[in-house]
Amino acid sequence: MGTERGPRGATVDGASLAVFRILFGSLMAFNVLRYEAAGWVHDLYIAPTVMFPYWGLEWIRPLPGWGMHAVFGVIFLAAVGVALGWRTRASLGVFLGAFTYVELLDRSTYLNHYYLVSLLAALMLFLPVAEVWSLDARRRGGRPVGAWALWILRAQLGLVYVFAGLAKVRADWLLEGQPLATWLGRHEDLPLIGPWLVQPGVALAMSWAGCLFDLSAPFFLSHRRTRPAFYLVVVGFHLVTAALFNIGIFPWMMMAATTLFFAPDWPRRVFRRAATPTLGPPAPLPRWAGIALALYFAVQVSVPLRQHAYGGSSTWHEQGFRFAWNVMVMEKTGQVDFIVRDAQGRETVVLPSEELTRLQLRMMETQPDLILAYAHHLARRWEREGRGPVEVHADGWVSLNGRRRQRLIDPEVDLAQVSDGFAPKAWILPLDQPSSWARHR
């Protein structure tokens, strides 16, 4: 069964949704195992004495003791439940809640693909993803699946690709081949291809290829005639990124997710499994759901665009940078000292390396909102120790995408007096080294 149009909308085979659900759940369960095996649950959520919660969500705190391991255990079990299609909605709900809770604990651990995991889990919660090849379907029988379910997920994936492509339409990426040129240099020692990777122009060619791939992927995948060949490109592209870059499960997730663009019954054709009879036409999309979806996608379009409202280079100031599919567009190195000045004008230099984990430090040194959060933490610490009130100044230097270093934060500004929020941050100094493209205009 491919697609059948009935009086209440198109009915599709739920097989491709089922395969995606199984792959998604399996991948998420595997991810928990690799986090535990690598010790990251401890390193990221138990060891830190300071966290960087999101603005307004400071009340979300890590659980003490073995609590975080328990949370990851819950994520694992829920992911297995999703893969098996056991109490699928409940499993998805638990997975979504626990996974998103972990992701909201610390901004320094933000990853675009984990944001995508939360979005996909949230969408799947309302979609008929367990009508085929699930324990739920075995128990109560499969129900018809509306084509809209597939299109919702395809639209989400399409947005990710398009915005990831648009994020690469910048001079650094298209004219300097940065940051790929920097990253490829790390692989100079690979057998055979290593010496090629650092040749002039290779990073630039790969940058253009990556940008064009992202921008065109949803369209080539949506078109029946280009889909099979382009899926091979998708697999090749993501395998290369998996081999060259440290981006975890993202390539595998995208290879799994893009199978949703194939005909809904592709798994039956591949695995030669007969269709399971379903009962009647699919439930149409309720009116409220249509409105909710329109709102959802309006938000999904608006949120990535918000970075442009701030002006300047978002890779530099990072305002509106998260949740915007700015995937692999920058390499930053930095260093920041904090100077705490008491009421008598006496200064103390604070090295954040003495308090933060290495990952937190690496992230904080280049991200202004994390620098602000740490400055607030220091002000509170001095206050708590009876040594406040104090001024906190940041002496921070950053290099972006191969540029020479420059100051990131205005050292004259007392960050203890600055509030976080969505308003433009005037205390972030503008990037004064444009790309060669801008320099030569």
């Binding site: 990221l44 693909h113 650092v198 253009w208 440290n246 290099s399």
Partner: protein
């Protein structure tokens, strides 16, 4: 468009130019800088042990001064090896760092040991806590006590035990790194666990250079100078208070950083600088100037540091700033140019 054309040309149409061999760089640094540094440490600690034995056999102002000179000389390779203070130095089961250089020392621990009845033979000192042994303990015993006090048999036994214990740890360090021993240098060169490949070793190397400069800036200079506590000087944080070698210790650590950066002498030797010259040559002169500013600033501070932190504050402030400038240059510009990941915790990115 022209760039794109060239990109495709290079991709498919020609043989790649010779690329930089980072493993050869690691090998050169490992075998021509790290191992010789520890060999020198062993050689000098053997000389120190011998000088102490001579002093105890013939206590005199001359033999005491010879022992003190041997101490200063032995400290040089130890401080120059600070960029290599990882692996056998910090990690269990060896964790040799606290055995040889747990600083700032605790004078009271040495005084109490000397005045007490606990054994001070080599075995007892080897088994003692970190503050009772190693270079910091010897710094206090050898320089805070004068000839008459050191003539005492117990003092001399403690002195000889300390020099023997230090020599033993130096030999352990060399053995742990040497290809003929624990071969930690082999793991480093080949990028094997705990190093994540050649890139991982390169990252650790650059990170250690940055870390060493940060230690010089903040722990060796900044902390005693009051930078860490509202401007209140902290003489107790000085690295080598009794020998007055603190400034030299700090300068040796910077020189050790420079040695790792430049590589060993000789045309065939490679250092981090060679990698930088292959990637971003325009940065190298700035780093050269940065090192020179640091050495000039050291020269401008009249020692010892214990006095300078209160009486030569302008010079110490200039030294602190010069080291900071060099550290920022390494941590931001050099790290960016070499594409190193400044972290030991390689979680996922993006």
């Amino acid at each position: 468009m022209r760039r794109l054309f060239f990109a495709l040309f290079f991709l498919f149409g020609c043989t790649p130019a010779e690329s930089f061999d980072r493993q050869a760089m690691l090998e050169s640094i490992g075998l021509e800088v790290v191992i010789p540094q520890y060999e020198l440490l062993v050689e000098r600690t053997v000389a120190l042990e011998s000088a102490a034995a001579t002093f105890c056999a013939e206590p005199s102002a001359d033999t005491l001064e010879a022992t003190r000179a041997a101490f200063r000389s032995a400290k040089e390779p130890l401080k120059m090896a600070e960029p290599w203070a990882f692996g056998p130095y910090t990690d269990s089961p060896l964790r040799l760092g606290p055995e040889i250089d747990l600083w700032p020392g605790r004078a009271a621990t040495v005084d109490d040991r000397l005045a007490g009845t606990d054994a001070v033979d080599v075995a007892a000192i080897e088994a003692a806590g970190g503050y009772a042994k190693g270079f910091p303990a010897l710094d206090h015993l050898l320089f805070a006590y004068q000839l008459e006090a050191l003539r005492d048999e117990r003092a001399c036994t403690y002195l000889r035990s300390l020099t023997s214990q230090i020599r033993g740890v130096a030999e352990e360090l060399l053995a742990a790194w040497a290809p003929s021993g624990g071969d930690y240098i082999g793991l480093f060169i080949r990028g094997e666990t705990p190093f994540a490949g050649v890139q991982g070793s390169t990252s650790v190397l650059v990170e250690q250079l940055i870390y060493t400069l940060e230690n010089v800036r903040e722990l060796k200079i900044g902390k005693p100078f009051g930078k860490r506590d509202s401007g209140v000087v902290q003489p107790e944080a000085i690295e080598a208070p009794d020998s007055g070698r603190s400034l030299q210790d700090a300068e040796d650590a910077v020189r050790g950083t420079e040695r790792a950066y430049r590589g060993a002498e000789g045309e065939a030797s490679l250092g981090v600088e060679d990698l930088l010259l292959a990637r971003r040559p325009e940065l190298a002169p700035e780093i050269d100037a940065g090192f020179q500013r640091v050495y000039d600033a050291f020269d401008a501070v009249p020692g010892p540091l214990a006095v300078a932190i209160t009486e030569s504050t302008t010079e110490v402030e200039a030294l602190y700033q010069a080291v900071k400038d060099l550290q920022v240059l390494f941590a931001v510009d050099l790290a960016q140019a070499l594409g190193v990941t400044i972290t030991f915790n390689p979680t996922d990115g993006d």
